[in-house]
Subunit: 134 residues, 2 copies
């Protein structure tokens, strides 16, 4: 017997992870629709996210599970996990505590293409050193 | 002299395409916030999108540029192109004509994880055969 709210295998076996065992995961704030970030999940990250209700990614740079907010405190509560038509991309509806971006901005997509190149369209809400050196 | 509204090199040179020359691109409806789909862009796809104002992806299955809507008529007008903090993911704000998904649904993320497995949460708005056999 499992105490998980969601039966993992029925979910996990349908996701078409890539050759590295990963799928891109878009985090979207569930109520405002803000696209917060794009990260990656492996099978274990999806399983842990479903089991705990707290969003867990796979960090390609650290080659390890990345429990969002573990260091920064800026966690994401899972609201709903969705999968696309090809089964190879995930949309994670979340409730974001504070800011999603390691730069201290609400979301990671703070640069817009303009005639003069990339332009920053959002400022940090929290100083990054506050996030990582508490 | 270029007649492009946006100087491509200043944009393109800052994108951190992966080992395959690709970056994931999230298409979001600019006014409603709907996440429509996740696809991929290479340098040429970004350049064409900026030059034409019509969103162009790179199809990994066909290994060719994919001018969204060319076959189906369900095109995406570019509203704004954004890049994330690491420069390796793109957010494309678009105005979607009709439906984004090849299944005839408005967006591709029509399956939600539930205790009983994946559940379809949206029905096709257009029959797929109408999209591709006109």
């Amino acid at each position: 017997m499992t105490t998980h709210a969601i039966e993992p295998a029925a979910i996990l076996d349908r996701i078409a992870f890539d050759a590295h065992g990963l799928a891109p995961a878009i985090a979207q704030q569930h109520d405002t629709g803000e696209v917060l970030m794009l990260a990656w999940m492996n099978r274990d990250a999806v399983a842990e996210t479903l089991a705990t209700g707290r969003v867990c990614y796979f960090s390609r740079s650290r080659n390890a599970l990345w429990r969002k907010g573990e260091t920064s405190g800026q966690a994401q509560r899972l609201v709903e996990l969705r999968m696309d038509c090809d089964g190879d991309a995930l949309l994670v509806l979340v409730d974001q505590t504070g800011v999603a971006c390691h730069t201290g901005r609400r979301d990671c997509f703070y640069r817009a293409a303009t005639a003069d190149g990339w332009r920053e369209i959002a400022a940090p809400l929290i100083a990054p050193q506050t996030l990582y050196h508490r």
